[in-house]
């Protein structure tokens, strides 16, 4: 097609005509999209600066010398067209859209820009590569697809939000997640559910998404000003195209399974280990041989997953539409976790006249999540429980009908003892009963929509107004069985909560585009934006149920003795005045400048407003006359600097005062926060320098960036004895910087006959350093201190097992101390390497040290896609590393109580001289043996991995086959098979190197009883009608 067009243009070019005197040429420029006239088209006499621009109705009039031969018509998004003048005085032109350029139009916030004109750092991700994959939400599939975009799925719970970081961690205690903008509407990204992890982005049907743009550097994101510190992800949904309605249906079905399970003791091994713990501690034995049960069988399953999407897209010249319906139901491998989503979208664009356009984007989804208690140390937490339940005890007891045939003690307090003399530690319940009878259900109706109107006021000047809404009606239900498990203590509980989030956003922009003197193109945008968000909830709960019968679906009046209610309300407002100025000289020298003044309700009125600016410049070296290379077809240098802010600092972060508190003595008010009216914006200074280079078939992009975050809004800790609420005061203290290098290379490696191979590789190196803080920030596992990266692991340094006596040893300063595991002589003792058996000298307690950074230092992705005739295949690989993980799951499973253990405990020390890394067993000595109140270097491991993320194989039926078989009713059909997350290469010994209990910034890198992440096998079909 392109070649045809090119040939056509060349043909016209060769036509020459006879000259005449000065004359006026008039005409109208139209296009298929704008048949009533394309305004703003540059009409220039070839070889001169003489020209004009078409009017609103696409007409123009231009005086030309009599000997003028050719007019050049050009406009963004269209192929430039040259028309011979000849003897004509009326020249009407029909411009053809430049498909290549259109593909490279990049959404940049409040508008679009051509890829070649961009001077900031913007990563575009085409949704076609990921739209058939199975995922609860789209963002998990962005991982590894673009440099500088880190997305981690920390567990296999459907509904748990992935962690998204753009160019590192850019805030310490404010949000570090990017702004998400869907079709121009900044959406609410806070989880509204109180009973489940319910990722709000799971309400968006991934199949509706056409493309993602990630604004990474300051210049690109500066247009979002105060909201841009963590980067911006712009999502554009699919829209109608001119032409016959195109109906598409796609489906896939398959199986979800856990990538790995814990390696636990069998029943028989448990008996030996459990009794040895107690014997060593001079206590009587409790365990007796019985069954060999793997309680993990009870919580894991092969989850069925399916998705169906049907869309219709099309339109006339004036009206274009896209409608879709979608359905997905995904069962997690961990019972009873399941996510189902019903979605609808309607996007319509209409030109009322050539100068007035309106349109809307509307989506509605209903998402239901069935969750579970997977609290890392909750007694009914599925992983915690299943890995600790006694393996020599049966799961079921068919005669125990009072507990539905599960093995439960008669009083309901815990799992049955089997042959043991005691039940499991902490009276943990039978997880099978819990999973079967307790319900955690969250559902949400979500409407995200916008409507816009656009008016071309004069040539090149367009006014646009867009109103967007984002409404989440979140509805929670939790029901706990009175007989056993978490509901037993309150004799059953039913909880329900309605938790809406409501936002409107109003944007008004004026855009002026012009080209003057042929070579100078100008694109100026000015605008204002208002946003208001409201979050509220009310909750009702009943406990002490009259009958288990009533609790299953909803609160039923009168079915409980105790009733409770609660609620909350918060508002946040935001307004902004902004402008952007883009200038380009011959497409060769590019300049962009952005300024924004934002106000936010979370700060005190006197400090509400902040001004943010950004600027960037680009130089397309390859367009210079001196640059003459056959090898390098494109070479552009970019540099940018901007200051941006972070609005996600907490609702009313600057405010203080007294909140309502309900005590036993009555409802009172309690001092809840210290006001800090001086609280200012948290600002990031973002510097970026980059280049785009096309050498032969290979395109390179490289960027170096440095983000300095200043005046971090920190919940600055105060000494607890001051009694300050939360032991912190919000203050602007602290600075941090992220710097790094991003590289991307992609190429069509082979394109020979039927075979084609495309490759796309990216890697990001990043380092983080905290440069200023009021005092170190210490959590259970992590510590953040000036001069280090944020959230380093911090804790005790393991010095091994004393081979002489089996005592665990730790560093105390530079000395090694041992904890003496001898009844009657427990305690820390000095360790003398010359006489290791000597425990006569009292030792100091172990001391803490830094044990490793938790943020990956490098990460990236590599996609290889192949086509051969009708076959296609993609292998997508992801990698990450340079970080350390605290394997708390395994430490917990090395416990010294009466519960199951990790199989590696079989290596425990048993005799003098034995070299091992598991000390002598000793009942009850978890704390001293494993230093369980902080990280422990024995359980700190490297987190490097290479993951084969997806393998997709497809086959597209030949058109000829389809047309003969279906008489043209089916225009295309593709079958595919895919496996997601098939292999991971890592030295990490836990279930998965991305497992992470925490998603905040200060606590990170801790693998602690999270559900294993998911492997998915699916078969699917795409059909077009």
């Amino acid at each position: 097609m392109k070649k045809v067009l090119l040939g056509f243009a060349l043909t016209i070019l060769t036509v020459m005509s006879v000259l005449a005197q000065t004359k006026t040429i008039t005409g109208r420029v139209t296009s298929a999209e704008e048949p009533d006239g394309v305004p703003g088209v540059s009409v220039v006499l070839k070889g001169t600066t003489q020209g004009t621009i078409t009017d609103l109705d696409g007409t123009y009039a231009l005086n030309v010398p009599g000997d003028a031969t050719t007019l050049v018509f050009s406009f963004v998004g269209y192929l430039t067209k040259e028309m011979p003048i000849g003897t004509r005085s009326v020249i009407d032109v029909d411009l053809a859209p430049d498909v290549k350029t259109l593909n490279e139009v990049v959404v940049v916030g409040y508008g679009t820009q051509e890829r070649r004109e961009i001077t900031g750092s913007v990563a575009s991700i085409d949704a076609t590569a990921i739209e058939n994959l199975v995922a609860p939400s789209f963002e998990s599939q962005l991982a590894g697809r673009a440099p500088g975009v880190q997305v981690t799925t920390p567990s296999g719970i459907l509904g748990a939000a992935p962690i998204i970081r753009i160019r590192g961690v850019n805030s310490i205690t404010s949000s570090a997640s990017p702004l998400i903008v869907i079709d121009g509407v900044p959406v609410v990204d806070s989880d509204r559910s109180a009973v489940n992890a319910a990722n709000p982005l799971a309400n968006i049907n991934p199949a509706d998404i056409a493309s993602f743009e990630v604004l990474k550097d300051g210049s690109a994101s500066a247009i979002y000003g105060s909201r841009a510190a963590n980067g911006v992800i712009l999502i554009t949904t699919k829209r109608g195209m001119d032409g016959k309605a195109k109906v598409s249906y796609s489906t896939s079905m398959g199986i979800n399974e856990e990538v790995s399970r814990f390696d636990l003791l069998t029943g028989d091994e448990f008996v030996e280990i459990a009794n040895e713990k107690r014997t060593n501690a001079n206590a009587g034995t409790l365990a007796n041989p019985g069954e060999n049960t793997d309680w993990q069988d009870l919580i894991f399953r092969k989850g069925f997953t399916q998705q169906h999407n049907l869309s219709i897209a099309g339109g006339s010249q004036a009206t274009k539409y896209f409608f879709s319906v979608g359905f997905t139901d995904q069962e997690s491998p961990i019972k009873p976790n399941e996510l189902s989503r019903y979605s609808f979208r309607g996007n319509v664009d209409h030109s009322i006249s050539k100068a007035v356009r309106i349109g809307s984007s509307m989506s509605y989804t209903y998402t239901k999540i069935l969750g579970l208690n997977n609290g890392a140390n909750s007694l009914s937490g599925a992983i915690y429980n299943a890995t600790r339940s006694l393996p020599n005890v049966a799961i079921y007891d068919a005669e125990n009908t009072a507990f539905d045939g599960f093995n439960v003690t008669a009083n309901g307090a815990t799992t049955g003892f089997g042959n043991n003399l005691a039940g499991p530690d902490n009276n943990i319940p039978n997880i099978g009963f819990v999973i079967q009878n307790n319900t955690f259900r969250s559902s949400a109706h979500r409407v995200i929509g916008s409507a816009y109107g656009e008016v071309d006021i004069v040539t090149g000047l367009t006014a646009r107004s867009q109103i967007g809404i984002d409404l989440t009606m979140s509805d929670d239900f939790q029901s706990l069985d009175p007989r056993h498990g978490d509901g037993r203590s309150s004799n059953g509980s039913v909880y329900q909560s309605y938790r809406p989030a409501y936002r409107w956003n109003w944007q008004n922009t004026l855009n002026y585009q012009t080209v003057f003197a042929e070579d100078h193109s100008l694109n100026v945008t000015a605008g204002l934006e208002y946003q208001f968000s409201k979050f509220y909830n009310f909750t009702a709960q009943g406990t002490d149920l009259s009958d288990n019968f009533y609790r299953l679906n909803n609160l039923i009046s009168g079915s409980y003795n105790n009733q409770f209610s609660g609620g909350g309300y918060a508002e946040r407002g935001f307004d902004s005045y902004f402008g952007r100025f883009n200038y380009s000289y011959k497409g060769k020298y590019l300049l962009s400048f952005t300024v924004r003044n934002d106000g936010i309700s979370d700060l005190a009125p006197e400090n509400q407003r902040g001004t943010f600016f950004g600027g960037s410049a680009g130089w397309r070296v390859s367009d210079e006359a001196f640059f003459n290379s056959d090898l390098i077809s494109d070479f552009k240098l970019r540099v940018s600097y901007a200051e941006v802010g972070n609005t996600e600092i907490g609702t009313f972060a600057a405010y203080g005062g007294y909140s309502p508190v309900l005590g036993g003595a009555g409802a009172g008010i309690g001092y809840a926060a210290i006001a800090n009216n001086n609280l200012q914006w948290e600002t990031s200074q973002k510097f970026n320098i980059g280049l785009d280079l096309s050498i032969g078939k290979v395109t390179f992009t490289a960027d170096y960036f440095k983000n300095n975050i200043n005046g971090l809004i920190l919940e600055a800790p105060t000494a607890p004895s001051l009694g300050v609420p939360g032991n912190s005061i919000n203050q602007n203290v602290g600075s941090m910087s992220n710097s790094g290098l991003e590289l991307r290379a992609f190429a069509n490696v082979i394109n020979r006959g039927k075979f084609s191979w495309n490759t796309d590789f990216n890697i990001t190196f990043i380092s983080n350093e905290v440069t200023e803080l009021v005092s170190p920030l210490t959590g259970t596992y992590n510590r953040t201190e000036v001069g280090n990266p944020i959230a380093q692991l911090y804790g005790y340094k393991w010095a091994g097992v004393n081979a002489a006596n089996g005592n665990p040893m730790y560093y105390s300063g530079d000395d090694i101390v041992q904890y003496n595991l001898t009844s009657g002589a427990l305690g820390y003792k000095a360790y003398d390497p010359a006489n290791p058996a000597d425990v006569s000298v009292t030792g100091a307690a172990p001391t803490q040290d830094y044990l490793g950074n938790t943020l990956p230092k490098w990460q990236g992705g590599w996609s290889n896609s192949f086509t051969f005739g009708g076959f296609d295949a993609e292998i997508f690989t992801r990698f990450s590393g340079g970080n350390y993980i605290m394997n708390e799951s395994v430490r917990g499973l090395m416990g010294q109580g009466f519960s199951n253990n990790h199989a590696s405990i079989l290596d425990r020390w048993t005799e003098s001289g034995q070299v091992t890394d598991v000390p002598k067993l000793y009942s009850g000595q978890d704390q001293n043996m494993w230093q369980s109140s902080a990280s422990n270097s024995r359980f700190v491991e490297k987190g490097d991995f290479v993951r084969i993320q997806n393998i997709v194989v497809g086959y597209t039926l030949p058109t000829a086959v389809l047309s003969s078989a279906f008489n043209g009713a089916i225009t295309n059909a593709r079958f595919f098979a895919q496996v997601q997350n098939p292999f991971t290469f890592t030295s990490y010994s836990g279930l998965d190197p991305e497992s992470n209990q925490y998603s905040g910034q200060l606590s990170f890198g801790v693998d602690w009883n999270v559900a294993p992440i998911i492997r998915t096998y699916t078969l699917g079909l795409n059909v077009g009608f």
Partner: protein, 505 residues
């Protein structure tokens, strides 16, 4: 002409819209719906009453592990920690393991929870104390109301600091010059007050006890008598009796006893009565728990201490150590009628509401003041008076067939008998640790005695003598772990004048 008209209409529309935006959209002038600003909190008498109720709330529902849970400091945790540091209640599960076996460190949760929640309570009340005079002088409160609140808050301040002293400082009875705990008498409700607050150091135990008595003496003069569910004059006096006992001020203990005796308090004939509603003549002060506000399933005494056969969790049992002790008579009503049994052990029945956790947390009882006085008499050589008071507690729980104690019968064992009586009478009330603390300081105990090995008492057989009780977990008085470490965060986040850690940690 036509075109110009259209343009004008468009421009007018845009202009109108712009005017509309700027006038209609003030979205940043918002205020929180859930925060009463500082300057409005003390403007009405009702709000001041609310702030005082807020102090009770913080006493009963403090922060533990970053969330309101588990009844720190006085909703339940003072009892649980006080019991499980001693030998008479037995830890059956991981919940109180660290406390029970003494493996706490500067990071462990229980000492952190106690420290953080007590000082949070203290700052809440100090802020109010700093605003009361103004409220009185501006007429928001009457002088009488102002004094009542002041007395109430000073009592709570002393109660909180004494709890800190017994956990984090060495006993007064050993060395009043030992390191105390920070005792602030002003609130921190502004960033600018932080440095002054950080400058308050640990001082000495002696200075802290002096301040305790200063607060309580002042409170006594301000506060009126009243019911047990709010601070009252009797509570002030009873707490003074307790503190003077720790200071070994025997005459002081007796003086406070005399004051209380003159009020309406009395022992209840049935020892369970103080635990059935909390309004008996024996109840001097308790923190109220309600169905809506309580320490929850992971903290409430009826949940933690109750019998699993009765719907409780039963993570803590009565220890076979005291159950099998010879001094606890088989016929004692506190044994017969105030405990329950299951196949796995013996549980206290002082707290019964295992479903909604509404049992009040009993803080001060007249019986304690009586036994304090008994000990003070005994220490000052007034054996007859001592034995009378001891019998008044003991014999009310025993059948007439059990002989009363006599001066001659007890002889030199009188103090031992009083202490044993305290172990029985206050079992499962958290009083064991303060006694171990002060008596170890005075050299009359050697530290924490041996306890039944954690998680080893798996059946009722250990209570009947059928199985020997494995013993462990004693802590010598001289040991570092006899007192708790100061939380690490306290030392790390005080940027100007970090306080001193207890030696050895």
């Amino acid at each position: 002409m036509k075109k110009i008209t259209i343009k004008n209409i468009k421009l007018a529309l845009v202009a109108a819209a712009l005017v509309g935006f700027s006038s209609s959209c003030d979205v940043t002038d918002l205020t929180p719906a859930n925060l009463i600003p500082d300057d409005e909190a003390f403007t009405t008498a009702a709000r001041i009453e609310s702030t005082v109720l807020g102090v009770y709330e913080s006493a009963q529902r403090g922060y533990y592990g970053g969330a309101v849970q588990r009844g720190y400091p006085f909703g339940a945790a003072n009892v649980e920690q006080g019991d499980l540091r001693g030998e008479d209640m037995y830890n059956d599960q991981l919940f109180y393991e660290i406390t029970y076996v003494g493996s706490y460190n500067p990071n462990s949760a229980n000492n952190n929870g106690m420290w953080i929640s007590l000082y949070r309570m203290i700052n809440r009340l100090n802020i109010i104390l700093g605003n009361l005079d103004e409220a009185v002088s501006s007429g928001v409160l009457t002088t009488e109301q102002g004094n009542g609140y002041k007395g109430e808050l000073l009592f709570l301040r002393a109660l909180a600091h004494h709890e800190l002293l017994v956990h984090f400082a060495r006993p007064y009875s050993d060395d009043p010059n030992a390191l105390g705990v920070p005792y602030r008498t002003f609130g921190v409700d502004d960033v600018t007050k932080v440095p002054e607050a950080e400058a308050v150091g640990r001082g000495t135990v002696g200075a802290d006890y002096t301040q305790l008595l200063t607060d309580l003496d002042q409170a006594e003069g301000l506060i009126a008598a009243g019911g047990a569910f709010r601070a009252n004059k009797g509570a002030v006096i009873a707490l003074k009796s307790r503190i003077k006992l720790h200071m070994e001020d025997w005459t002081g203990v007796l003086a406070e006893y005399e004051k209380l005796k003159a009020m309406t308090y009395a022992l209840t004939p049935n020892p369970v009565t103080p635990f059935r509603g909390g309004t008996s003549s024996d109840n001097i002060f308790s923190f109220v728990n309600s169905a809506e506000a309580n320490p929850g399933v992971n903290g409430a005494l009826p949940s933690m201490y109750g019998n699993p056969d009765l719907g409780a969790r039963g993570l803590v049992k009565i220890s076979p150590v005291i159950w099998t002790a010879a001094f606890w008579k088989e016929t004692d009503a506190r044994r017969v009628a105030m405990t329950t049994k299951s196949a796995t052990g013996v549980f206290t029945d002082k707290y019964t509401d295992a479903t909604t956790y509404t049992d009040p947390n009993v803080i001060l009882r007249y019986a304690e003041v009586v036994l304090n006085a008994s000990e003070a008499y005994a220490r000052t050589g007034k054996m007859a008076e001592a034995v009378v008071l001891l019998n008044s507690v003991r014999s009310r729980a025993l059948p007439a067939s059990e002989a009363e104690y006599t001066v001659s019968g007890l002889g030199d064992g009188i103090l031992e008998a009083i202490w044993n009586e305290r172990r029985i009478e206050f079992l499962a009330e958290g009083r064991r640790w303060p006694d171990i603390h002060r008596l170890s300081g005075s050299g009359e105990m050697e530290g924490v005695p041996s306890k039944a090995s954690s998680r080893s008492i798996t059946s009722i057989d250990f209570y009947t003598g059928a199985k020997p009780i494995p013993m462990d977990h004693s802590i010598a008085y001289s040991s570092t772990t006899f007192i708790w470490p100061i939380p690490l965060t306290e030392l790390q986040t005080n940027s100007t004048a970090p306080i001193e850690q207890n030696p050895g940690y």
